[in-house]
Symmetry: none
Subunit: 398 residues, 2 copies
């Protein structure tokens, strides 16, 4: 069902929807035990929720497709990630809480190392310190180009922001994506982007000059030129007063893109839950974002991921005590410790509500959810499902 | 697969398809037992069919979406309800077996009560009797407006039919949808509807005058202006000679919209089955419509719904005795007694045929069907599935 069709059916009600989003929730079985991180974790509270609720596995984008953070979240928010692409530059800007105007163009930057022939020898300049990155960004800020801002991120990363009238993000990357090649000039991918391409190339030229005496970071690479996506607000589409609670700016930024109130908090699960408790009365849709499971998965640390899932489980009684009409637990994608990164595997999903139709699932885990009453389904359907179970959707058709 | 694509594959054969449609079939568990209406009912014949057949759960429109009667039926007939909207006025007209011409515009009418200031105080005029409604419709029939017909329905409801050349249904409701507001004038939603709007507003003006001395029904509200949908015939698309047997005119009307022969009968399940037996030799697709389960669900009467399902089960041997090549059992939507109305929950589905691939389902119920071989799937796929199992579809592609 399209956003336009849902807009006609959605109605405001006092009922509350709470989504517990555990980033990177899904996993793969440990070779010794045959149990995934979630199946290994002792999660009596989530298991009890599963027993009274209905479970399934979500496909964040499409079967076999590994989602980045933006598509994984947008789908859960109810926005088709294939229709609303979010550029890498924008994601980096959101990640450092950078202000981006509607006409700005932003790109993800890397400091890198080039040799005497100008060939890229290290795309990350030896992962320089964040402090060194800040010093170099200071140099690049004084190049005398109007409307150009350079903001440091972690290690070798920075964000380039171009501000002015009539800019276009239809630009090719300068990053050759492998070592042993020259950085590229950016190319305008459409005629109206020619002026922006000239500006970006002039920035790179001056940056190379300014960094000539530096080591190892003596050059920059740019990719993911992008502008703010204009997404319809959840307030207009779903008639919600939504909030996102997250310890990391990138996720708050994604929430803000769809009209959520974004609440910053410390990164621990307990801090996130405490922040939720503070605003619970003021909103009818709340999503709380737990980052730790994804970090542990990216590190390949099976045990650390098990531990964070047990910590999250221990906080579930504080969520159920709030008595939301709908409590959903899921993730934006899988991050199996075995793969040390995001993966395409579908993500455990649990919905608890007085109006759900419980299945026979007795444990919140991948194998159990695969046999759940919701089966394997697109994450894009999560929003209509939680709205329905909160009685926030009118009947379709006579 | 689109209707156009199916049209190219469908072929006439002597094999017979029988669909047992139990309106409002799906339910929610009773809080004491954890069993739904269907799971509670003693249904040995349906269970035996499930054991030899293949089961699943259908999504009538889309996950989370509660279907009205028209979308729920159209999907089972093989027509995408999102592509073929049926207006409320048309549904009301079908419900009273009113003749509607291809250019007519019809609207659902309510008699209502307004106060001295003209403000709506009761949108249903105290639910006047059907007899009183008929008397008042007689008054409105004599207002001297050419091409305007008013036909009573149950209690406070009537259907307004406008007949003439070049009429348009692009009109806004006059019903303010809540009490404490004035009825609205209808507005033309497109320029060609201006003349129809004038006619409808003149009808309302004269109706108000004619009803001024009445109590409590002293005004009318109109909504759901609509015209007949033009749907391709099942005869052309699916190469079937189809029939619908139903005790209620609305469902027969929906069948007629897609080219079915519509057979009226009494409303009891046994009467419907007897009528089927009388015409079984003449058709290759027959759908029999059982209304009682939906009525019990709407009343919130769990036990009555259980009872009607047991009555239906007891008639199943008369259906299997006919030896159709395909026997499918499902509903147009769920009507859980707990919710006292239509709901979004997917609907149990059972297909029995010599050519089906049985799954392990041993009982016809929601939890068992969720684990069935068909999983959770769009109701729109029911028609291709029953055609296939009756060997009525050619191979696609070389």
């Amino acid at each position: 069902m399209t956003l336009e069709e849902l807009t006609r059916l959605a109605k405001p009600t006092p009922s509350k929807i709470l989504v517990l989003l555990i980033d990177g929730l899904g996993g793969l079985p440990h070779p010794r035990t045959g149990q995934t991180e979630l199946e290994t974790a002792f999660t009596p509270n989530l298991d009890r929720l599963a027993q009274g609720g209905i479970c399934g596995l979500t496909e964040p984008v499409s079967p076999g497709i590994t989602p980045g953070s933006a598509p994984g979240h947008l789908a859960l928010f109810g926005y088709d990630p294939l229709k609303f692409p979010i550029g890498r530059g924008i994601m980096e800007a959101l990640g450092i809480d950078m202000e981006v105007g509607p006409e700005d163009v932003v790109a993800r930057g890397n400091f890198c190392t080039v040799d005497a022939q100008g060939i890229v020898r290290d795309r990350r300049a030896g992962r320089i310190s964040t402090q060194e990155c800040a010093r170099l960004c200071g140099l690049l800020g004084g190049l005398g180009l109007e409307g150009v801002t350079v903001v440091p991120a972690a290690e070798h990363r920075f964000v380039l922001r171009l501000r002015g009238r009539g800019l276009s993000a239809e630009l090719a990357d300068t990053d050759p994506r492998q070592e042993g090649l020259h950085p590229k000039e950016t190319l305008a991918l459409s005629p109206p982007a020619a002026r922006t391409a000239t500006l970006a190339n002039e920035f790179v030229r001056r940056a190379r000059e300014a960094l000539a005496g530096e080591h190892p970071a003596n050059m920059v690479l740019l990719r993911g030129f992008s502008q703010l996506a204009h997404l319809p607000s959840m307030r207009d589409v779903f008639k919600l007063n939504p909030a996102i609670v997250a310890g990391y700016p990138m996720y708050r930024g994604l929430g803000k893109l769809v009209g959520m109130k974004a609440v910053a908090t410390g990164g621990s699960p307990a801090e996130v839950v405490s922040a939720l408790e503070g605003l619970y009365q003021d909103h009818d849709y709340m999503l709380i974002h737990i980052k730790g499971a994804d970090l542990a998965g990216e590190d390949g640390d099976f045990e650390a991921k098990v531990h964070i899932l047990e910590v999250v489980d221990s906080l579930v009684p504080r969520l159920t005590a709030l008595k939301p009409e709908v409590l959903a637990v899921t993730g934006d994608h899988s991050t199996p410790a075995l793969l040390k990164g995001h993966s395409w595997h579908p993500v455990p999903f649990l919905l608890s509500s007085p109006w759900c139709r419980p299945d026979g699932v007795a444990q919140f885990g991948e194998k159990a959810c695969a046999l759940g009453g919701l089966g394997r389904f697109p994450a894009l359907e999560v929003m209509p499902l939680v709205l329905a179970h909160a009685l926030k959707l009118d009947k379709y058709g006579a």
